[in-house]
């Protein structure tokens, strides 16, 4: 916590050397978040690079308050969301919105990086609509509160809580059905 506060202070003073420390500290966390949201490692790398590029350019130009991790998480989530919207627009032109947003067959490299159990989870996550995936990942993986996510997405806390419960249920049934298919 203190390390981040000192980093923010140094960042606000224009010390860009601190950016290396920040990148090294949060790169895995942010990459995981972006990859889980987009189900695409290349796109995730683009998102994290974009976020850091903006962060580097902004050094000393604005004042950062609060949590550094929270700030970067929100930046990644916003960037991923914009990319997803752009992709939806692109896909809807070509595919008439018939296909799901993502398909596990398209990204063999991404789930292959995990062990079997996590592979099933990433597959199941990929089956859920982006908004459900977002609330599950931001709340569970990034530890963001519903209030913070509501601020980010512009939706009510109750809507988000409902979506979270529904998403978790759906994820559970997807995982269980897959277990049944494999065993039965």
């Amino acid at each position: 916590m203190l390390e981040d506060n000192v980093a923010i202070w140094e960042f606000n003073r224009g010390n860009r050397e601190v950016l290396r420390r920040v990148y090294e500290k949060y790169k895995v966390n942010l990459m995981t978040l972006a990859a889980a949201l987009l189900y695409d490692k290349d796109a995730a790398e683009d998102v994290v690079q974009d976020v850091f590029a903006s962060f580097i350019e902004a050094a000393g130009k604005f004042r950062l308050t609060g949590s550094l991790k929270g700030y970067l998480t929100v930046c990644v989530a916003n960037n991923a969301r914009n990319r997803n919207k752009a992709k939806q627009r692109h896909d809807s032109v070509g595919l008439d919105g018939i296909e799901p947003i993502v398909s596990d067959s398209k990204r063999p490299d991404f789930p292959a990086m995990f062990g079997e159990e996590l592979q099933r989870l990433t597959w199941a996550l990929a089956q859920r609509p982006y908004q459900q995936r977002e609330i599950l990942i931001l709340h569970v993986y990034s530890g963001m509160k519903f209030k913070e996510i509501a601020k980010l997405s512009g939706e009510s806390i109750n809507t988000l809580k409902g979506r979270y419960r529904y998403g978790l249920d759906k994820l559970r049934s997807l995982l269980n059905s897959e277990v049944k298919n494999e065993t039965g």
Partner: protein, 417 residues
């Protein structure tokens, strides 16, 4: 059925490493930003204490006097230097290569203790400084961590962490390093002796197990940077076989005799520190109150005014605000760090009824034990107290430069009549 908790645990286990190519791209971007930043950075970032000292007219006078004195004393002084130079040069050489220096101060008349760690980089520039103060007044132990111009001050009891970048403060840190890094301390004595500010004497005992004793006597007001000080004396104990400084005793001249203040001890040389010594991450509690000194908006800008002029202007504006009962404006001129402290000051000021300023025209140096204010301001006021109109001469209004704002001043505090 997979319970929700298990799914949550599974989500938390997700981990995607960025590719080496991405790492390279981001670091390359940071490097470019750093290069751009370096180009725009002021070339005069490094402070030069001796330049500051030498710029002062009094220094020039003293230096001129010292040159004349040396010329007059001629051969006898040269003979004296010749007999003492040997030990001094050896000590400088022995201590100079240490990259890590750890030393401790023990106060003689109280429980005060300081512990300091210095680290130099490969090019011999000071990189990190940490000083721990124990039992240092007010029961608030303090840790100062300085890293290439940026300072963290952690007040343990009050759970406050101040962050600032301040050239004047950095000058003081560099001065501290020059004063107590043994190699620099001895070089400093040589230098100040040439400037006529210090006289020193070396006692080299024939018994080779006994320490060499170097005694240096400092002229008044030369011992610490910007502080009113009496004549001071330091006694260096130098190990004969290694020529390393083992201790520096400090004395001040009071009522015609030297008063023992304390001793710096150098238990080890060039033993690499644990890197955590220069990070407060694991030590500072999570509920510490962080004060960004650079963000404070209090006091007045000094602009082109002299120290005396800004001190009087500041106090005058403060008193005038009190007269018109603008307590918000008055409290802005008194040092504080949080809105809560400002509210308390304002509430306190509301109890004072200043009617008019009779006179305000003199400044005076703060007493030696006053560590914050750089100038005191004397004034005579007419106030109303307990239904009576009386004259009041407050004698403890001190003005300070604000840390992190070298050109801004505040009033230290203001007490009730």
């Amino acid at each position: 059925m997979k319970p929700a908790d298990n799914i949550r645990k599974l989500i938390k286990k997700l981990q995607v490493e960025p590719s080496a190519d991405m790492d390279r791209k981001v670091h390359s971007r940071i490097t470019k930003a750093l290069e751009k930043w370096e180009k725009t950075k002021s070339a005069s970032a490094r402070p030069n204490i001796w330049r500051i000292i030498m710029k002062k007219p009094i220094t020039k006078l003293v230096t001129a006097a010292a040159v004349i004195l040396i010329a007059v004393l001629g051969i006898s002084l040269l003979q004296n230097s010749a007999t003492t130079a040997y030990a001094i040069e050896q000590t400088i050489k022995a201590c100079r290569d240490a990259r890590f220096i750890h030393f401790e101060y023990f106060g003689s008349s109280d429980n005060r203790m300081k512990e300091a760690w210095l680290e130099y980089d490969d090019s011999g520039q000071i990189k990190n400084v940490r000083v721990n103060f124990y039992n240092w007044g007010g029961g608030d132990d303090l840790v100062i961590l300085w890293k290439r111009g940026r300072t963290q001050q952690w007040f343990k009891e009050s759970k406050k962490l101040k962050l600032f970048e301040d050239k004047i403060y950095t000058d003081k840190i560099i001065f501290f390093v020059h004063r107590y890094d043994p190699a620099k301390a001895v070089e400093n004595i040589q230098k100040m002796e040439k400037e006529g500010k210090v006289k020193f004497d070396i006692d080299e005992p024939t018994n080779k197990t006994a320490p060499i004793i170097l005694t240096a006597v400092y002229d008044p007001n030369t011992y610490l940077l910007g502080r009113t000080m009496p004549q001071m004396k330091e006694i260096f104990s130098i190990d004969q076989p290694t020529k390393l400084v083992k201790a520096i005793e400090i004395y001040e001249l009071k009522d015609g005799r030297y008063l023992d203040l304390g001793v710096w001890k150098y238990p080890d040389y060039d033993m690499a520190f644990d890197a955590r010594i220069f990070s407060l991450e694991d030590e500072v509690p999570s509920d510490v109150n962080i004060v960004d000194m650079m963000a404070l908006d209090i006091g007045l800008e000094q602009c082109d005014l002299t120290n005396e002029q800004i001190a009087i202007k500041l106090v005058r504006e403060f008193l005038e605000a009190l007269i018109v009962k603008d307590y918000a404006a008055a409290s802005k001129l008194i040092y504080h760090e949080t809105p809560k402290e400002e509210a308390e000051i304002q509430k306190d000021l509301e109890k004072i009824n200043v009617l008019r300023i009779i006179s305000i025209d003199k400044t005076f140096p703060p007493p030696p034990d006053k560590s914050r204010g750089f100038l005191g301001v004397s004034c005579i006021l007419e106030i109303e107290k307990d239904g009576q109109i009386i004259r009041w001469e407050p004698n403890d209004i001190f003005v300070s430069h604000l840390l992190g704002h070298p050109n801004r001043c505040t009033i230290d505090s203001f007490k009730h009549p």
